[in-house]
Amino acid sequence: MNQETPMTEQESLDLITNMIQKAKSSYHDTGIGSLLWGTVVTVASVVTYFQRTYDFSFGFDIWLIVLAAIIPQIFISVQEKKSNKVKQYEDDALNAIWLVFGITIFGLNIYQMIVPDVTNAFIKQEGWQLTKHYLNNSKADEPINAFTPSIYSLFILIYAFPTLVTGIVKKFKPMLYGGVITYGLFIGSCFTITEYDFLLGGVAALICWFIPGVILRRKYLAQQKANV
């Protein structure tokens, strides 16, 4: 007959430490969400850079692929929720941050679409207009529409925020470094023309989500392999 031997106090403490370590190391994001967003935002940003630099069009707005990515993201979220066997304390807070990030990006798109037209209407009501004036008088003045200058810099600024928070909270260095570097890219983009802002935005998406996504995916697959 088996007889249980009582644990010593030191063994009890060691067991507690060991279990806490196991619980901490058990969490691995599948990485698919990061890969998805990293890919679509990088592609859309870099393509926009080339479109603006070499003046060509695909006949549709490349940023629609970012909008379309919401559909697989919903599917991924549902699947991950079902397959997650453990929920960490910070998961709900981080999910809320990413949701608010999505809403903020959406809001900024709305701002970009609405504000120039509304501004044009207001200044027209006031009886004046914006004009492009060449300092060397090489060309005649041209009336122009109101626009939001270098707005992609603001997108880059917002890309950094949830990425850095996730990196800090999850102690996941690739996202932490990604977030910090992206703040640097934001500062850089304040001094560049819009075309280069898109290129910098592509780099931001690459280091914030795509590269961390690859690392997360590799870790996840390695863990799955170890569990087989």
Binding site: E9, M19, I20, K22, A23, K24, V86, K87, D91
Partner: protein, 81 residues
């Protein structure tokens, strides 16, 4: 308890895997902790499969903290003697 204390909630299968306990043995332990009011146990069906989720209660956290403090105090006394 040590495993559950560091997460918000965990499935029975996760605890079984991490503790290397048998399902029967773990069920008994889970039942004892539930009766003591240290954990909440939720049973539901997900995609036609039964799913048992365990979560530490505030009483469980207090009891665990008291236990760890007692252990630490005991070991500290041993070191000082």
């Amino acid at each position: 308890m040590s495993l559950l204390i560091s997460v918000k909630e965990a499935e029975f299968t996760f605890i079984k895997e991490k503790t290397n306990a048998t399902a029967g043995n773990l069920s008994v332990q889970v039942q004892k902790l539930k009766e003591a009011g240290y954990i909440d146990v939720t049973k539901q069906f997900v995609d036609n499969y039964p799913q048992t989720t365990c979560k530490v209660t505030p009483e469980g956290v207090k009891a665990f903290e008291a236990y760890v403090k007692a252990l630490q105090a005991y070991l500290q006394v041993g070191k000082n003697n």
